[in-house]
């Protein structure tokens, strides 16, 4: 076998998180209507303002068209064949972790996210979301001592309605796009983070999303607000069982950073990607946007995208504050029949706003991996700067790497710079490493992680190793 073939084989490996938890689940009937939106809202005992928000979004959604501009191909989604609310049956309110169904705790244990007091990670607070609901949040009390609110968004609606009303939908409007409108109408659960003025969040915050049901859509909603001078680092992880049908995941994440605030948002996405023939897998249509509302505010997105059958995702920054900073660091690995169309938008509004984009796409198998980005310099963004770098690595001659970096500038006192390159793992490089005693798998893994280093360096310490491992895992397999 030639080493080119061997490299191709290396990127195929079984999905480790494909099990289904057998648990009694409360589901509503399939389909979407105004009544379903009202039902979801009433199940969650929401205040009127939120029901109005949902209904407005639903009506807008009905008027909208599903976007088709991305380099993606998939059969039409039947929105009436999806369940919009599913929750494990359990006590109305879990007072402590001890009351959480042990099957759920066990599920998260198996996923490497222990929640119990004894085993939980020492410096990371975790919000665990199972299908449509948040089942547990660790370290809530400790965080509360610092004034930090970290809880599920359903809980926040009840406990802190004024904050939700003030911020929800202010970054991603309910009619922003087709999938955001759908999410605004039917969102189930997600995390809420509030860091008050001047507080540097004492630990990493993390939400772990688990889709369990085969016919349920997941529509989580995350809102993170950092007040003046506050800072937080947040990580999101996700997995789903293996089904031969496709599940829709349409999330919305909104970040708000006021003056001098800083939010670092990292994602390690490992949804089920479908099998080698493209059967099954998650359709991941996600709207993520940060609003650098204050001067000198800073929002940084880091994503490691390895899963999903389809990824449609553009974590973006609206750089409104003067001297605000936006960053986007991305690794997207596609294999088999996976399709990813991902990138970012950096919208420079404020003077001297700066942004950096580093995107690394790795395409293997028959997959298609597109970077799509927009850098827009508005007329008032005097002195704005952007630097973008998009590199693609191709493994095998059937994978596609596409690059679509849009640049729009209306401000002469600004500078936009974009660079892109394409590379592969050459036979010569592999032989060189092998001739120094390094095995083929390790050689490939070293080169891939070298290719991704600029991005991994941005992940919080605890997760950088995790991401490296995940990628190595994706690249693990039989060498002929």
């Amino acid at each position: 076998m030639s080493s080119a073939q061997a490299v191709g084989d290396l990127v195929s490996q079984p999905y480790k998180y494909g099990f289904v938890t057998d648990i009694e689940t409360e589901k509503i009937a399939k389909g979407l209507s105004e009544d379903v939106v009202r039902l979801i809202s009433s199940k969650k005992q929401e205040p009127d303002f939120l029901l109005d928000f949902r209904l407005r979004a639903y009506r807008q959604w009905l008027q909208m068209q599903e976007p088709d501009w991305a380099s993606l191909g998939y059969p039409p989604i039947d929105y009436q064949n999806i369940i919009y609310y599913a929750a494990p049956k359990q006590q109305a309110k879990k007072a402590s972790l001890d009351e959480v169904d042990p099957k759920l705790l066990e599920t998260f244990d198996k996923l490497g996210i222990p929640l119990s007091e004894q085993k939980r990670l020492s410096n990371v607070a975790v919000d665990a979301v199972f299908d449509s609901v948040s089942i547990a949040t660790t370290y809530k009390e400790k965080l509360a001592e610092h004034g930090v609110i970290f809880c599920s968004i359903s809980e926040a609606v009840k406990e802190h309605p004024e904050l939700i009303e003030r911020y929800l939908g202010t970054v991603v409007a309910s009619n922003d796009n087709y999938f955001a409108a759908l999410n605004s109408a039917v969102f189930s659960d997600g995390s809420f983070v509030f860091i008050p003025k001047g507080v540097d969040c004492p630990m990493e915050l993390s939400t772990y999303f688990r889709i369990n049901s085969g016919d349920t859509g997941q529509f989580e909603r995350t809102l993170i607000v950092a007040e003046e001078g506050a800072s937080v680092s947040y990580l999101e992880g996700c997995t789903a069982p293996m089904f031969d049908t496709n599940q829709l995941h349409a999330a919305v994440v909104e970040l708000v950073a006021l003056d001098d605030a800083s939010i670092k948002y990292s994602t390690v996405q490992n949804w089920y990607a479908g099998d080698e023939n493209g059967v099954g897998g998650i359709y991941n249509f996600v709207t993520k946007r940060g609003h650098c509302r204050g001067d000198r505010s800073h929002i940084s997105w880091t994503q490691v995208e390895t899963g999903s059958a389809i990824t449609w995702k553009y974590p973006s920054c609206v750089l409104q504050g003067a001297d605000s900073v936006g960053e986007f660091y991305s690794v997207a690995l596609t294999n088999n029949c996976q399709q990813a169309d991902t990138g970012t938008k950096m919208i420079h509004v404020g003077p001297r706003s700066r942004s950096t984009i580093v995107s690394k796409g790795i395409s293997a198998g028959r997959s298609s991996n597109s970077y799509r980005g927009l850098v827009q310099i508005g007329p008032k963004a005097v002195g704005a700067r952007n630097y973008s770098q998009c590199d693609s690595m191709l493994i095998g001659d059937r994978a596609a790497a596409n690059t679509y970096p849009y640049i729009r500038s209306q401000q002469p006192q600004s500078a936009v710079e974009h660079e892109a390159s394409t590379c592969r793992i050459s036979e010569d490089q592999l032989f060189y490493l092998q001739s120094r005693g390094i095995g083929l798998e390790e050689a490939v893994s070293m080169m891939v992680s070298g290719f991704c280093r600029d991005v991994f360096n941005q992940l919080p310490m605890e997760f950088a190793a995790e991401a490296d491992k995940l990628l190595a895992l994706k690249l693990e397999g039989s060498v002929g």
């Binding site: 849009y406 640049i407 500038s409």
Partner: protein, 425 residues
């Protein structure tokens, strides 16, 4: 034609109210391009005029073309040409004046190595490269199909080297130019094409060139317009292995200029060089959509596109490069550099790279900025005034493309012409 399109003549009004009356003014289809005219007119009746709803036309407003309605048909291009004071023919170059009405080869003795294609060859070759490069149904091409009554169809015979000068000036109305160039093996052709619009008017250019093995084409286009003039151009090339093509296009002063260089390396192993410079000022729009596809291995592309945007000018650049699976060992580099000189001007740039082959080198880069302050400062620190320093730097910026024009075209002093036309300092 797509079956779903409506029947000729129906449902057109409203979408493009000016188009039908304009079509009615055209002479009945006749001559060597009769079939093409019929096809183009049908297509224009069926296809909507491009609008900002289409991604490819998002930023480019075609409303200026409505002036066609007021001044129908081919205008008095000959008068315009004399008014435009064409530069004298360059020594050693063979000049043809294209006025869109008379046969440019009438009473002309072609130099050695250059032959007119016969009707059979025209029948076989016309439209072939447009189809191969996927633009035969583009609206500007159909517009040319509908209006063009004359054709310049030439062959450069094997191993001959020819230098050609093509000169056209737009009068009122639309001046349609249709060219078909066939380069035999090891033939070399240098074309210097000058398009002028001294006043209101439009030019539609459709050029097809087929390069056989080891043929060389150097096409320099200098297009100097008027704020009330429009230019729509498609430059389509098919390259056989070991051929080399250089397309260098410079445009300035047009109310609307849209150029679409489209290149297909039919079997790879060819060299393509694309150079573009577009200058906008006032409320002008300049738009370049280039498209290069490698249908075989070891092809090369070197592309540099430059933009100077002043006033309320608007510039669009879209550079597509397609490297399919069979195009292993392709080496493609694309660079787009834009100078934004005014806070009311606008620049949109979008490279589009689609790569499937894994053993390729594809790099692209884009920059948008004003003049570099450190460069300005360096010149100023040597005693050069700020305005003069800016002028020097802008000239240097344009020179990088202008120097790639064939020598003859350089004799037209395009930079001076640009400076007369535009807000270049």
């Amino acid at each position: 034609m797509t079956a779903s399109l409506s029947a000729p003549g129906s449902s057109v009004m409203g979408r493009s109210a000016w188009l039908e009356p304009w079509l009615a003014t055209l002479p009945a289809p006749s001559g060597p391009l009769e079939a093409v005219q019929v096809r183009g007119r049908r297509a224009l009746r069926e296809q909507p005029v491009p609008s900002s709803r289409q991604e490819d036309w998002r930023f480019t407003d075609l409303s200026l073309l409505q002036q066609l309605q007021q001044a129908p048909g081919a205008g008095d291009a000959a008068a315009a040409a004399s008014a435009a004071a064409l530069p004298p023919p360059a020594p050693g170059a063979f000049r043809l004046v294209l006025d869109g009405r008379s046969d440019p080869l009438d009473g002309v003795t072609l130099p050695e190595g250059l032959q007119a294609l016969n009707p059979l060859e025209i029948g076989q070759g016309l439209g072939h490269t447009l189809a191969a490069t996927g633009c035969e149904q583009h609206w500007p091409v159909e517009l040319n199909h509908a209006a063009a009554g004359t054709l310049l169809a030439l062959r450069v015979t094997a191993r001959h080297s020819v230098r050609l000068e093509l000169v056209s000036a737009a009068g009122a109305g639309l001046l349609p130019l249709r060219l078909l160039l066939v380069l035999e093996e090891k033939a070399a052709l240098e074309v210097n094409q000058l398009l002028l619009a001294p006043g209101p008017g439009s030019i539609s250019l459709v050029l097809e060139a087929h390069l056989a093995r080891s043929a060389r084409l150097h096409h320099g286009l200098v297009a100097l317009g008027h704020p009330e003039a429009a230019l729509l151009g498609h430059l389509a090339l098919e390259q056989e292995p070991e051929s080399s093509a250089n397309l260098t296009a410079v445009s300035a002063g047009w109310g609307l200029a849209r150029l679409e260089p489209r290149v297909l390396q039919v079997d790879g192993q060819a060299v393509t060089t694309l150079r573009g410079l577009q200058v906008v000022d006032g409320r002008q729009i300049a738009d370049t959509h280039s498209h290069v596809r490698f249908n075989g291995p070891e092809g090369q592309l070197d592309q540099l596109h430059k933009v100077v945007a002043a006033g309320q000018g608007r510039s669009v650049f879209n550079g597509a490069v397609r490297v399919p699976r069979e195009a292993q060992r392709t080496n493609a580099a694309q660079l787009s550099r834009s100078l934004l000189l005014s806070d009311r001007a606008r620049i949109d740039t979008k490279p589009e790279l689609e790569i499937v082959a894994d053993d390729v080198k594809c790099a692209h880069g884009a920059t948008v900025s004003s003049l570099q302050t450190d460069e300005l400062f360096y010149l100023q620190s040597r005693g050069i005034g700020a305005d003069q320093a800016a002028q020097l730097l802008q000239r240097a910026f344009c020179e990088e493309v202008l120097r790639e024009l064939p020598a003859v075209a350089r004799a037209w002093c395009p930079l001076e012409a640009l400076q007369r036309q535009d807000g270049l300092a």
